[in-house]
Amino acid sequence: MSVKQLRTEEMLINMGPQHPSTHGVCKLVIKMDGEEVKYIQPHVGFLHRSIEKIAENRNYPQFVPYTDRIDYCASMNANHAYVVAAEKLGDVEIPERAEYLRVIMAELNRIASHLVWLATFTIDLGAVTPFLYAFREREDILDLFEMTCGQRLTYNYMTIGGVGWDIPKEFEPKLRQFLKIFPSRIDDYEDLLTNNPIFLHRTKGVGVLPKETAYEYSVSGPSLRGSGVKWDIRKAEPYSIYDKFDFDIPIGTEGDAWDRYKVRLQELRESAKIVEQAIDGLPGGDFKKKVPLTWKPPEGEVFCRIEAPRGEMAYHIISDGTPKPYRMKIRTASFCNLQVLPIIGVNHMIADLVAIFGSLDIILPEVDR
């Protein structure tokens, strides 16, 4: 037996498509030297439904339900991005109440989405209990959504010209009660995780994303803010009525998984603040402006982006004056954020790779569309 035969070798492993920590169907081809990951190549497209092609064959208002399916954890935000873009394309003025309702729903959905992230991230690190704690609060939000639009996952709530339904009477007391207990629940998560030495060891210095790399790969959302970039489209290019609310943009310093965790936890508090301001200032009046099914925007194109829970979500719609879009490009945050994984994930243990994947908050239908 020669020395060459005894040499340790890199092991090629398919992590996914069926793997508990790839958050959907993503395949990571990784090369491992012992426990250390030396090379990562993501394979996506397992969920490709060609929503952009579908868009070319649907009327504008008909397309809203499809946007739900782009990001099933934050359907409201995906709705919001689409309707804002479409309204900008057709210069549709919408009632103020609709704007407020949209903001309330979008921010609630941001909270729900971050809670799902928190849940899955902690479960990636092996802690199961915070998972259910986070889902407990998400349940309250889903109850609010169900009360409003009858759906718990894909809401189809926002329409071009407003929102589909007004909120019922019992919505506001329930929301206020939720807002009252929610900060203490965030404190619960922090008690469980923030000061836990194992959690600290698993996240500090893991998957450091430098600012420059984040720029190059167009990383957006909390993952970018974790690297210390104060960039939030709600502040930088205010859409809807976000300029009316007072909230902070939390940022990190090092750009590691810990910073991304802290930023998201802080965003939970900020979003709750926005929701509180919005429900306080909710005006009366109409909640929707009638837009016909065969709505025809003028010829032209529009590019509009919003801050979704995972980062920048943008719609580039090109209209040729017919009721159907000529071309619709959907830019999603996870698509760009996932690209950075092979850069920041190498030379880490496989357990860290899972943590980094989790901390980036990738959602695969958003990547594949």
């Binding site: 092991m11 492993i13 793997h19 508990p20 920590s21 491992m32 426990e35 902690t122 479960i123 990636d124 690190l125 092996g126 802690a127 199961v128 209990t129 998972f131 259910l132 704690y133 407990r136 469980l192 995780l193 836990n196 194992i198 959690f199 060891h201 698993r202 243990m349 496989i350 357990a351 860290d352 899972v354």
Partner: protein, 346 residues
């Protein structure tokens, strides 16, 4: 009063009166084996249900509620399901090793019960080397995990097997050393003698003379039993399920069974060596049978292990190693030195 010893003595006398000596040995060996198997199985069934309930209540949910009162039949229902499941063997698996791995794991988990005193006089064989025997025999578990990891012909399994080997070898050292303090004070390796020395009030328990030793033991034992936060060999989120990823049906159940048995084993050792074994915390509580005290203490310890599992995240494999060699091992040595000074001074 409700002590079980007289019952077993009566059975022994009865056997002696009707059978020759050779057959008495055989029958009693198989009989005790069957009793231990039965009792341990009941414990495992209970633990599985209990862990579900404990985790559920820690996570603000109910856990199983439908099968039986508060779901107590759930584990049995699961067992029936597992029995019916198709028994898959991967095509490229090393069949013989693959088949034997769960058996070795199962047997190794039970072998430790030879020297555990469940109550006053309730011990299969009070070996002179009691503790050493248990430490030695539990290493067979790691052999089985290696066999499973290697034979499954799956890279995740292989990684899990390697991790478990590295982990258990590392934690074996502080585990063994942490018990030396107790052995030094007790001046014996026999489990029964150690328990007898802790008679009386609860401050006679060795945990009050060996707090450091107990802490090191308990952490190392958690790691030996592959419980969170040290469950890296199976780490569902990283290695899918580690060494048992390819196992299904009853083979998988045997690994599962062994894990819960090991949980009881490490609790029983902790109770025997540090918490006075079958003794009541105060002499006036002696009217309660000894085996109830022992089982009660074990259950409390198992509950603490479950509490760990449902609270902590999992550590990383290199952190696990560093913790074993850089923290636990020195602590175990410090404990031995302190114990030595203590014995010299008092």
């Amino acid at each position: 009063m409700l002590e079980l010893r007289p019952i077993f003595d009566a059975i022994g006398e009865f056997l002696n009166s009707i059978l020759p000596e050779f057959w008495v040995t055989i029958v009693s060996a198989f009989g005790t084996g069957a009793i231990i198997l039965g009792v341990a199985s009941v414990f495992v069934l209970f633990f599985v249900w209990w862990e579900r309930k404990v985790s559920a209540h820690m996570q603000q949910r109910y856990g199983p509620m439908r099968t039986g009162w508060h779901g107590w039949l759930q584990t049995i229902a699961d067992g029936v399901k597992l029995l019916q499941k198709e028994d898959l063997i991967p095509r490229d698996a090393d069949k013989l090793v693959y088949l034997f791995a769960p058996v070795v794991c199962f047997v190794a988990a039970f072998l430790a019960y030879v020297t555990i005193p469940f109550g006053e006089g309730l011990i299969v064989q009070d070996l002179n080397i009691g503790i050493l025997y248990i430490i030695a025999i539990t290493t067979f578990t790691v052999v089985s995990l290696l066999m499973a990891g290697w034979a499954s012909h799956n890279k995740w399994s292989l990684l899990g097997g390697m991790r478990s080997a590295a982990q258990i070898i590392s934690y074996e050292v502080p585990l063994s050393l942490s018990l030396i303090g107790v052995i030094m004070i007790a001046e014996t390796l026999s489990m029964v003698s150690i328990v007898v020395q802790q008679e009386g009030w609860f401050w006679n328990w060795y945990v009050f003379r060996q707090p450091l030793g107990f802490i090191v033991y308990y952490i190392a034992a958690t790691a030996e039993a592959n419980r969170t936060p040290f469950d890296i060999p199976e780490a569902e989120q990283e290695l899918v399920a580690g060494y048992n990823v390819e196992y299904s049906g009853m083979k998988w159940a045997m690994f599962f069974f062994a894990e819960y048995i090991n949980m009881l084993t490490i609790s029983a050792i902790a109770v025997t060596l540090f918490f006075g074994g079958w003794h009541a915390p105060a002499p006036f509580l002696d009217f309660i049978p000894s085996w109830i005290w022992f089982v009660g203490k074990c259950l409390l310890s198992v509950f603490v292990l479950m509490w760990f599992r449902w609270t902590y995240p999992r550590v990383r494999v290199d952190q696990l190693m560093a913790f074993a060699w850089k923290f636990m091992l020195p602590l175990a040595f410090v404990n031995i030195i302190l114990t030595g000074f203590g014995i010299y001074l008092f």
